[in-house]
Symmetry: C2
Subunit: 115 residues, 2 copies
């Protein structure tokens, strides 16, 4: 069925443990490598490096090297990446409802969308 190709394309890009975390971290204002690294617990330098490369390739972020003394790079989200917000909203809503459905969790402690 034809839904599968595009869905798989999408999951290939934003699936996995870290990509969405990283994107959200950048959306929240973290621009530099070490900054992003520190903002996401348990994320290692090596993995971050690889994920950022993937994301740049897929045009979700732009990497700029600033000429300065303690060499700085800057990561900024592309306009294109912002189209992911709808997807994330659906994934988020489903996750919340699923949790209720499965665990009967009605607490709804935090459903703000700080993205």
């Amino acid at each position: 069925m034809s839904a599968l190709l595009p869905v798989r394309d999408t999951l290939d890009i934003i699936g996995g443990k870290w990509k969405l975390l990283i994107l959200i971290s950048i959306w929240e204002g973290n621009k530099h490598f070490r900054e992003i690294e520190r903002s996401i617990p348990k994320l290692s330098t090596k993995v971050l490096s690889k994920e950022l490369k993937d994301m740049e390739e897929n045009q979700l972020i732009i990497r700029t090297v600033l000429n300065g003394f303690p060499v700085r790079t800057q990561y900024t989200p592309t306009e294109h990446s912002k189209t992911l917000k709808k997807v994330i909203l659906e994934l988020q809503n489903w996750g919340i409802n699923h949790r209720k459905e499965i665990f009967g969790d009605t607490s709804e402690k935090d459903n703000s969308i700080r993205v």
Copy 2:
């Protein structure tokens, strides 16, 4: 970071290579183990077995054993699983637009099940 938990919950459940393919196959009318297996190229018995267990645990499908001569099991989608259709639609739309954005691909030629 509150979008992240639910999003990760969702991706844990439907992420990965096979779960959505399997769910769609079942939605399309394939009910039995070998039937589902044969409908998805490159999917092995072992992996299908594991994926179906995960999906049953997450209440996306129901497994019923029919008492008969060449023992048959039946997999049916839950009502709850149908709430995924919105999510899938968004993932699908994003995938299509992303492909256009990145490759300028307007052909939409190949909508067969590539695995």
